[in-house]
């Protein structure tokens, strides 16, 4: 392929003939993702106020080791270095974090909003060099499918958390069925996460996209169609689930701190 020179001198950073407010979209994404990163890091490092009654914050689920009744393997392990900050969230957040970081939607969004590569379509870039995802470190984005396996596992665990959030312990120690606002918050959270995870491009590929002849396999065709249906709005699922998972943690945290009251509906 012959080298082709550009017709008009390359544009400087941010230079464009676009007349619309092209900077709004990357600015909003920058603010949204930054807010999530700051809040989730802060919340994960707190190590407290992540449960309230039968509710467990999605940032801390599954709680492998911890002080709450939700912990799978008891309190903080003895082998954990005493000088190192411990929080149950640190042990697990790498999985959903990695899943989102390597997600095809997020990649496109943060390359634009955080790296200005490009700032938006048909807008001048700050750098002339470009390596894409062909070389280290961005070639590592190809591990997305392995994070997907963990994300599906987490989805099952969060579904179990919604079930647990329907069983309240009264003053006598009896567990009774009930639904509180927190139950609904966790249910909406897992629904949005389900829409996001099950519409993942890697999953869509695995369940049917890999096949050139899918008509002969009706079950895979049905699963592929479902995944494709969710995939068409992958961006919306990604954004809504991001906001909701943050809100679910905030809700439980504020209930635990006594700032908000969790209303029992049933």
């Amino acid at each position: 392929m012959a080298h082709v020179s550009l017709p008009i001198a390359p544009r400087r950073f941010g230079e464009t003939k676009r007349t619309d407010a092209w900077w709004i979209q990357p600015a909003v994404i920058f603010l949204l993702f930054s807010t999530f990163i700051v809040y989730s890091t802060w919340a994960a490092l707190q190590g407290n106020h992540y449960t309230y009654g039968p509710y467990l914050s999605p940032f801390y689920s599954p709680e492998l080791f911890g002080d709450s009744a939700h912990a799978w393997f008891g309190p903080r392990p003895g082998w954990w270095p005493s000088w190192l900050l411990f929080s149950p969230a640190i042990l697990i957040l790498w999985a959903p974090g990695g899943f989102r970081f390597t997600c095809y939607y997020y990649r496109g969004a943060y390359y634009k909003a955080f790296w200005a590569d490009p700032p938006n379509c048909a807008v001048g870039e700050p750098r002339s060099s470009y390596r894409g995802e062909r070389h280290f470190p961005l070639i590592l984005q190809n591990v997305h499918r392995f994070f997907l396996y963990f994300a599906i596992l987490f989805l099952v665990i969060l579904l179990r958390d919604v079930w647990d959030a329907m069983w309240f312990t009264d003053a006598t120690g009896h567990r009774t069925f009930g639904i509180g606002v927190g139950t609904l918050v966790l249910a909406v959270n897992v629904t949005l996460l389900g829409g996001y995870t099950l519409g993942c491009h890697s999953l869509r590929h695995m369940v049917g996209g890999i096949l050139d002849r899918i008509a002969e396999r009706p079950v895979r065709q049905a699963v592929y169609d479902c995944s494709s249906c969710l995939n068409r709005n992958h961006m919306q699922w990604a954004r809504l689930s991001l906001v909701m998972v943050m809100f679910a943690d905030l809700y439980i945290r504020l209930c635990s701190l006594g700032v908000w009251t969790d209303w029992r509906l049933i």
Partner: protein
């Protein structure tokens, strides 16, 4: 009838400047109509490429108010006529004159892609059989009119000038149409990774945004191809499965 000003790039081989052309416009006009009016009334030497005026030939690609679009499909009532409307040639290709660029690089790229390689005929009369469901997926890609707006907006070509190592979204769509075809047998994975440079795409979806045929270029063509490349080159579990299958096949062959 109302007045509008069109700021059109005039010049040859990259040298030039914007010139303002005030003209009258009426209801239902598209940008190409305005360019034709300017051509006939004020600038007979204004060069622009066009053919069908129906959004099907892909000839009149240009940048209107900074966005890659077909001039024949951009209605004036979508634009703010209170300000001059800028019309530029596509930036990803060598400039020829005024609004015309040399897009021949695209045709040279296409020649290098492995062509459709059908399997052996499946019926005694030498014909093939396909299910409509299997063809639906590649039919989306065949809507492409080769306007090259996706190539123009792609920052890998437009800003980074990687024409020597990246084929661009148009030809990734072309490869997807071949790779996902139920009768095709060619293997283009190594080509996709190396010569076609699929790793250069960083999924900004600009190509999908500008496609006048509404092809979901990124979601339905590029990302599925990236996943197939991952299957082949970056997934150790898949490699293990392939190895085990090969060994089983070899064992069966030896036994028989």
């Amino acid at each position: 009838m109302s007045a509008a000003t069109f700021r059109i790039w005039r010049g040859e081989r990259g040298d030039g400047r914007f010139e303002d052309y005030p003209t009258t416009v009426s209801e239902g006009m598209v940008v190409l109509d305005a360019v034709h009016r300017i051509q006939s009334e004020q600038a007979n030497d204004l060069a622009c490429r066009w053919n069908c005026k129906a959004g099907k030939c892909g000839s009149c690609s240009a940048e209107i108010n900074g966005k890659p679009r077909l001039m024949c499909m951009t209605r004036l009532n979508e634009l703010d006529l209170a300000k001059p409307v800028t019309i530029e040639p596509m930036r990803a290709f060598p400039h020829v004159r005024d609004l015309v660029t040399d897009v021949s690089w695209n045709f040279r790229v296409k020649q290098k892609i492995q062509p459709f390689t059908p399997c052996a005929p499946q019926a005694a009369d030498g014909t093939w059989r396909m299910q409509q469901r299997d063809v639906d997926r590649v039919q989306e890609f065949r809507k492409c009119i080769e306007c090259f707006l996706c190539q123009d907006v792609c920052h890998v070509l437009r800003d980074h000038n990687r024409h020597d190592s990246f084929v661009g979204p148009r030809f990734l769509v072309h490869v997807a149409a071949l790779e996902m075809h139920p009768l095709d047998t060619a293997d283009r994975m190594a080509e996709l990774r190396e010569a076609d440079g699929i790793g250069y795409c960083n999924i900004t979806k600009c190509c999908t945004t500008v496609c006048p045929e509404g092809i979901a270029i990124t979601d339905n063509a590029i990302i599925p191809l990236k996943e197939r490349v991952v299957d082949r080159f970056y997934d150790p579990l898949k490699a293990l499965v392939r190895l085990m299958r090969r060994e089983t096949r070899d064992e069966r062959r030896e036994t028989s």
